[in-house]
């Protein structure tokens, strides 16, 4: 039950992009096509999970032990930046053709803000998560990110075909759509 609550809360109620404003740049940048949005979500789930597990261990068994919590930002960002690269290198090394296939399927997989943000949130003292809860939280957040992104990509593909007034075309209308999407997601608030 506790896990279900974490999942629902992270996906719907406190959606990372729509409610918590994490990873807004890729949310707007990579959401022009549904296909890529779906692909990206899959990758984000993996990266976010791995990143959260690693940073969680780092936090709890290094930073907390030595009482240097204030080094959180700098260690987390280094770990995350290299992790993302590591994943790609391994993939490329291990299976070049798989890597190529992903290459044309996905535009990019880094979402610094969201990954770092979720990693930071997962170790937040108020939540007091253990590793499993933190991981579940990360996975759910990533799914929430992916969900918002896929829905938004659908809306934007649709908007491409519509007759949007000149001044609103492109980015402005995308923001308004995102706003209305967030408005709709407010309906989930309080589910707990």
């Amino acid at each position: 039950m506790e896990y279900i609550l974490i999942i629902i809360s992270a996906i719907f109620v406190n959606n990372v992009v729509l409610m918590k404003f994490l990873g807004v740049c890729p949310f707007f940048g990579v959401s022009k096509q549904v296909g890529t949005a779906v692909g990206m979500s899959g990758a984000v789930v993996f990266v976010m999970t791995v990143a959260t597990i690693v940073t969680f261990i780092l936090q709890k068994y290094v930073l907390d032990v030595f009482e240097i919590q204030y080094m959180q930002t700098i260690t987390f960002i280094l770990v995350i930046a290299s992790l993302v690269q590591l994943v790609e290198i391994i993939l490329k090394k291990v299976s070049p053709s798989l890597f190529q296939a992903l290459g044309i399927f996905l535009p990019l997989i880094t979402t610094n803000c969201a990954v770092l943000g979720v990693a930071l949130l997962a170790v937040k003292p108020v939540y007091d998560y253990d590793l499993l809860q933190a991981t579940v939280y990360a996975v759910a957040s990533a799914i929430g990110f992916g969900l918002a992104m896929v829905i938004f990509a659908g809306l934007r593909e649709h908007m491409e075909l519509q007759d949007i007034p000149k001044g609103m075309k492109g980015v402005p209308i995308a923001f308004v759509v995102a706003g209305l999407l967030a408005l709709a997601f407010m309906g989930f608030s309080g589910i707990a």
Binding site: L18, M19, K20, F21, L22, G23, V24, C25, F28, Y70, M71, Q72, T73, I74, F76, I77, L78, A81, S82, N112, C113, L116, G117, L120, L121, G167, M168, V171, P172, I173, A174, F175, V176, A178, G179, L180, A182, L183, M186
Partner: protein, 194 residues
């Protein structure tokens, strides 16, 4: 490029928020009021200027391949400094801005300026660039914060300007997106006309 232009383009032609759409998370997340926007903007500006200075100083000592990680370390250090200082001297603001302070690290604006400008230019120019970009960012955040505060809480800089409740949405997440959308539309229209 003239010094003036280096300084001013961050305000208008290359404004991080309205034109280049960088650093959207803090932009949206911290602008529930003008003051919060201002605070976030200043924190970001500080990191931006300082990291620009340092990057510009050490640029020739750093091998190409570790450029990015080095920059990240430099930026992250300044972010931590900001974090610690704010905790010590403006704890209330720090609490409101919360998560977004550490997230300054990943604001593409900062890494972007370090990479695209400071790593290629003199220290003095880098300071100007950082200051211009940072203040442009601050201005944008303040504007967004001000609009949201006026519409959402009926006040500006915590000074009440009309009676009664504002439209709550503007303080909440949807309002952030919507207001920014219209502000961008407005800048588009204004810049196209002039």
């Amino acid at each position: 490029m003239s010094k003036l232009k280096i300084f001013t383009r961050g305000f208008f032609s290359e404004n991080a928020v309205f034109v280049m759409l960088l650093g959207l998370c803090p932009t949206l997340g911290t602008t529930t009021s003008a003051v919060n926007g201002l605070g976030m903007g200043i924190a970001t500006t500080f990191v931006l200027v300082m990291s620009n200075i340092v990057v510009s100083l050490v640029k020739s000592q750093i091998p190409d391949k570790v450029r990015i990680p080095s920059f990240i370390v430099i930026i992250a250090s300044f972010v931590t400094i900001v974090e610690l200082t704010m905790q010590a001297y403006v704890p209330d603001l720090f609490e409101v801005l919360g998560l977004y302070i550490p997230l300054i690290v990943v604001n593409c604006l900062i890494l972007g300026r370090a990479e695209a400008f400071a790593s290629k230019n003199k220290v003095s120019d880098s300071i100007l660039d950082g200051l211009g970009m940072g203040l442009g960012f601050t201005m944008a955040l303040m504007m967004l914060g001000a609009v949201r505060e006026i519409l959402g809480s009926g006040s500006i800089f915590n000074i009440s300007i009309y009676e009664g409740d504002g439209a709550l949405v503007f303080v909440l997440a949807p309002g952030a997106f919507i207001v920014l959308g219209y502000l961008i539309a407005l800048t588009n229209i204004l810049t196209k006309k002039s």
